[in-house]
Amino acid sequence: MASQSRRTPLERVEYVLIVSTLLLLVVFTLQPLLNLLALSLSDPSKVAGFSGLSIFPDGFSPDVWMLLLQHPNVQRGIFNSVWMTATSVCIGVFGTALMAWGMSRPGLPGRRLIFILVLVTIVFEPGIIPDYFLMKRMGLLNTPWSVIMYKAVSAWYLIILIRFFEEIPKELLEAAELDGANPFQTFFMVVLPLAKPALATIALFYLVLHWNEFFRAMIYLNDQSKWPLQVVLRQFVIEGDKVAIVGANNVNNNLGLAQINIRALKAGMILITILPILAIYPLILKFFTKGTMSGALKG
């Protein structure tokens, strides 16, 4: 930023130090992930003493990934995670947009009251036990809906969308009205197309939120077959329940999965769970960064 022409040697040393510190931060952030990736792709015969510092596979073998991706628990986990996340995102975006549209109309009677009632939910959360009893009373225990419907409409994202809708030029809405559009038509044909960037942002917010959700799935879904990937991962990696992945038959004999190093399997499992986030990471960066920056500036 400063004039770049005349820099003293001291300033150059300072600059090198600043850049090195940041690069060290990058190493601290990425090394643990790259290490797990390298471990999961290494030759199974060489994994035993694989260094925690290395980021290059020792030999190469896709065995761990193949075995995991063919494993019924992992496949079911992926399937459950994908459909539950997709459903949550659709419900979330649509429900939030509809509600935000109403709340963004200046003259709406009761607007202020509704706003306050929404804000209260941000500040006051009665806790997991009342929530558990609500699920029980509604018969949602051990159904995916106890997980999907949580934060179906997030108060935070609702407020973001309200702000966005409020900035749509009045003239456009009035023009639609003059053309004889009713509020529904205005919403679907004028407002939604205009809001595409905001809706995409909200969709990504919901996507990350729901893909990473594990707590509710963990406490509400007893049935293993209903578990999303995060809970499968937790059972195997955090709880150290080898049977969850290796299988009861394989624990004691030398067949199939049991031959693979358990450490490499865990590493592969972690990476499979991250993969979708990595796949959309460029999009995440674009939308989240812009959203957070402008949000911070407006204050």
């Binding site: 510092l53 609500l134 955090i238 911070a296």
Partner: protein, 295 residues
């Protein structure tokens, strides 16, 4: 009146699913929380017992242990996690090449988007006493390996460091946005006066982001009793449990494992009320000090 109904009903109709959701998912649980004042019986109805559950709770030593753990962990996070993103933002701002800065940012933002299950998995591997990176460096330097995950003396630091790993990069974004909003003329004026890099940081950049720092600090104080449940529940094990058992994990265990519904709800309600008060107070303090609130 009739005119009004005709004008506004379509909007209420569109809002109906959302309103219904908020009512059921957020307001019914508030009503359910009355359980904290009841004696929960297997066969309803429950009996109203007033403050008795709270008296039992406040008389139990475990609750004070849990409360102390929560305060210690939150205090450590404020002290050691909070300043890091500020320093990261200051460093990033000094980088002249936009490409380099962008590359660093894309790398350090990543962990913010990973779940605590994943992060716990990563840290368990990273801190493994036999082949984790940290212990390998440690033994290479001639130190004894430490099992950080099962050591009551280190597990709280694992919480602190993993929180830094997850959030320091992303949180720096807010401060960076505040730095970019500083009037460039201030830097030019400082340069005219012969200020060097550190003087510019000290006299222009930091004063420029103080309002942001204050707002975020106050907000963090507001969340003081919420030492992340998702983090702790994934890092907890039989050995370290006593040191990082927080109110949230206590509520979870008492309620869903032990079946002490009323006590667990009372503890949860205690946390919710204190938490709400702290958030509201911090919001108004922030508004008074900086003119900026949270909403």
């Amino acid at each position: 009146m009739r005119e009004k109904v005709r004008q506004w009903w379509p909007y209420y109709a569109m809002m109906a699913p959302g309103l219904l959701f908020f009512f059921i998912w957020h307001y019914v649980p508030i009503w359910e929380a009355k359980m904290a004042f009841e004696n929960v019986r297997i066969i309803p109805p429950n009996i109203w017992v007033g403050w008795k559950n709270f008296e039992v709770l406040f008389a139990s030593p475990i609750f004070y242990q849990v409360l102390a753990n929560t305060l210690i962990i939150s205090g450590m996070k404020i002290l050691f996690v909070f300043p890091v993103p500020i320093m990261v933002a200051l460093l990033l701002n000094e980088v002249r090449s936009g490409k380099l800065r962008g590359a660093v940012q894309s790398a350090i933002y990543l962990p913010h988007f990973l779940s605590w299950v994943v992060i716990a998995g990563v840290f368990i591997a990273l801190l493994s006493p036999t082949d984790g990176a940290v212990n390998q460096i440690q033994t290479a330097m001639g130190f004894e390996p430490v099992n950080y995950m099962t050591n009551t003396g280190t597990i709280r630091w694992v919480l602190v460091v993993s929180e830094i790993w997850r959030s320091a990069g992303w949180d720096s974004l807010l401060y960076l946005a505040a730095i970019f909003a500083i009037d460039p003329q201030l830097y030019e004026a400082a340069e005219m006066d012969g200020a060097n890099r550190w003087q510019k940081i000290w006299h222009v950049t930091i004063p420029g982001i103080v309002p942001t720092i204050a707002t975020l600090f106050i907000l963090n104080m507001g969340m003081f009793l919420s030492a992340d449940l998702n983090q702790v529940i994934n890092m907890q094990n039989a050995v370290n449990a006593s040191t990082i058992d927080i109110i949230d994990t206590y509520v979870y265990r008492m309620g869903l494992s032990t079946g002490e519904y009323a006590l667990a709800t009372a503890a949860g309600l205690f946390k919710a009320v204190i938490g709400m008060t702290l958030v509201l107070v911090s919001h108004f303090v922030s508004k008074r000090l900086t003119g900026k609130g949270v909403w």
